[in-house]
């Protein structure tokens, strides 16, 4: 497939967008530390997120016709220099990250003020912006070693951010430590995989590497590189048996961080998986190894069913949502393992829709932490009456998680079921529906607690702060908007899937 490629030789602003996408949050982080004022720190975070969102939307519009932007860092042409390569898939994931970061920023003002001691605020926001930088860098870069470096920037920042939940509950420290151990093992496995690929090809540029790997699919070095990379990335994205770090880290992290990481961190890991599987190793390699049918498919089904079952018996609302996240990662992996263009479209769409849904729900959980003193289900009893707007948003989020028509969750599940049936894998459709029924059970438990278990007969309205409600409702309305108007999400995911599958 021949594609028009634009080069960054001129100095106009549009040509420099790919590097600005990284530089804006990256430069803002030390700026916050130098200024050292809490309120200004919040404003810089908000503005940096907003500018990133504008840049990413611009990039998406530029590549929406199927073209590719190739940006050469320092003017060094690839494969020698590092290349930033933007196509429909990474532009879409960049928009997701920047959008979530912008939505959660107003929420952060009160939530962080309540959960983190004042003297830590500036450093907290600096670490947060480094995490955003890392996640965006992973997505935008076209160089495999650069992926590792950015992955570690975002991971190190998120270990710090999760551990800061210790001011509310000391278990945040041990969950951050466990995440650090497991995350580092994952990243190191990933580096071993890259090293093996470098031995075979002598290049680090993704496109160059893909070309040089052609016809080497039987080499055991290439195969072991693939295994190392899948396991390494699998640890980061919480593929079912490798998920143990996730529930505790998400339960005890500060609410704002949980909301952001749940919607972006695992999604970025899925992006890496897609990029390596389809751009570097190519679909033909996957078919030859049959790894999707024998490894990813059973694990994703296990995630969808077992994690949903565990979610039903959780005592903590955040824990329940964390297990549901593992199940939803299962849906996305199921879409990938159908091994067709429509399956990939479903996976990419669910990646976006689930991000929007989970950010809304985790923000609601954080609002309960502030107003009800915790996110245990016993804290939530009767909250439907004392916090009507927050709880209404929880209901919208839950409906989207189940996949009720009219919400974003329905669209992605519908396309997933369609893809499964289209490829003659109708038993998968039954699994999807069964797992959705389990989601009805655990979401039903939450709604029951909110509205039908009024232990104290409280009626005095004690609503969350307005800035938090704004964020929560923007995310909830997005769940409904992307459930009704699907032009943007479907056309972009479709294009991204086509480009991944053909190359």
């Amino acid at each position: 497939m021949s594609l028009p490629i634009s080069h960054s030789d001129s100095f106009s602003l549009v040509e420099q967008l790919p590097i600005l996408q990284i530089l804006v949050p990256f430069v803002s982080a030390p700026l916050i530390v130098f200024i050292g004022n809490r309120t200004i720190a919040w404003w810089i975070t908000f503005l940096a997120s907003l500018i990133s969102l504008l840049i990413s939307i611009n990039l998406l519009l530029l590549v929406n016709d199927g073209s590719i932007i190739s940006y050469h860092i320092g003017g060094w042409a690839p494969p020698i220099g590092i290349e930033y390569r933007v196509d429909a898939l990474n532009a879409f994931v960049l928009v997701l990250i920047a959008l979530i970061s912008t939505i959660v920023a107003p929420y952060a003002y009160k939530s962080v003020g309540n959960e983190i001691p004042k003297e830590h605020h500036t450093l907290f926001y600096a670490a947060y912006l480094l995490c955003v930088t890392g996640l965006m860098g992973v997505v935008i870069t076209g160089d495999v070693f650069n992926v590792f470096v950015f992955l570690e920037i975002s991971s190190l920042a998120s270990y710090v951010l999760i551990s800061l939940g210790s001011h509310r509950d000391k278990r945040a420290l041990t969950s951050a430590f466990n995440y650090l151990i497991i995350g580092t093992i994952g990243a190191t496995f990933f580096v071993i995989g890259i090293g093996l690929l470098y031995m075979v090809t002598g290049t680090l540029n993704m496109i160059d590497m893909a070309g040089l790997l052609e016809g080497k699919s039987s080499s055991s070095t290439v195969r072991s590189a693939f295994a190392f990379i899948i396991v390494g990335v699998g640890l980061k994205l919480a593929i079912y048996p490798l998920h143990i770090w996730l529930p505790k880290a998400y339960t005890f992290a500060p609410s704002f961080i949980t909301a952001f990481l749940a919607a972006t961190a695992t999604k970025v890991a899925i992006y890496i998986l897609l990029r390596f599987m389809f751009t570097i190793f190519r679909p033909s390699f996957l078919e030859e190894l049959n790894v999707l049918n024998f490894v990813i498919l059973p694990l994703s089904i296990a995630a969808m069913i077992i994690a949903s079952l565990i979610a039903i018996f959780q005592k903590d609302f955040k824990g329940l949502l964390a297990y549901s996240s593992i199940a939803q990662v299962g849906y996305i992996l199921l879409g990938i393992s159908i091994m067709s263009e429509s399956g990939l479209t479903a996976a990419i769409i669910h990646l976006f829709n689930h991000g929007i849904t989970k950010v809304a729900l985790f923000m609601v959980a954080g609002a309960y932490v502030i107003k009800r003193g915790g996110s245990l289900l016993t804290n939530l009893q009767g909250a439907g009456f004392t916090m009507p707007w927050t709880s209404a948003a929880a209901v919208v989020g839950c409906l989207s998680l189940i996949g009720v028509p009219g919400t974003a969750g329905f669209i992605s599940k519908w396309i997933l079921v369609e893809a499964a049936i289209e490829n003659g894998k109708w038993p998968l459709a039954i699994v999807i529906i069964f797992s959705s029924l389990l989601a009805v059970v655990y979401c039903g438990r939450v709604i029951e607690t909110l509205y039908f278990k009024n232990g104290n007969d409280e009626t005095i309205v004690n609503e969350s702060p307005l800035t938090m409600l704004i964020s929560i409702w923007i995310a909830s309305l997005a769940c409904i908007y992307f459930g009704l108007s699907t032009d943007i999400t479907i056309s972009v995911s479709d294009l991204a899937a086509k480009m991944l599958y053909l190359k």
Binding site: F148, L156, F177
Partner: protein
């Protein structure tokens, strides 16, 4: 029949694998958090060794061009790129280790122990107590 040529020819890989498994074993088997970090370091170091060894070209010299830039094409140079890459990975490793040790200091302050099984008992009590954790109380948000 043992293929000695194969075994000796891949000597660097055998060392890499032994070191890597040693590190991984320590991370999994040891209950002391500091020992876990030591294991993690050994595991990461094995990968550094692996990268450095694949950059070696037999008969190759240090990849430094002469000052007058008169390059003799007959001289074989080692590949410097893996070494540069691993310099970055070493920096990442140092950052990870320092963060892990800082977390251990905080865990010691809060739990009074750095043994995993003792921490597990304390956490199990917290999990089953069903008590609302102490919220950080300071109402003036900003």
């Amino acid at each position: 029949m043992i293929n000695w040529e194969f075994i000796i020819g891949h000597l660097n890989y055998w060392f890499f694998i032994v070191l890597m498994m040693t590190g991984l074993y320590i991370v999994i088997a040891k209950g002391n958090l500091v020992k876990k970090v030591v294991g993690l370091n050994i595991f990461q170091t094995s990968v550094f060794m692996f990268y450095i060894s694949i950059g070696k070209v037999i008969g190759g010299t240090a990849p430094i061009f002469p000052v007058d830039m008169k390059i003799d094409n007959n001289i074989v140079y080692s590949n410097p790129l893996p070494h540069v890459l691993i310099l970055t990975a070493i920096v990442v490793g140092v950052a990870t280790t320092s963060l892990a040790l800082a977390l251990i200091v905080r865990i010691r302050e809060e739990y009074g122990t750095i043994e995993e099984d003792e921490i597990f008992i304390i956490e199990h009590e917290l999990d089953s107590s069903n008590k609302t954790p102490n919220t950080y109380k300071e109402n003036g948000h900003f």
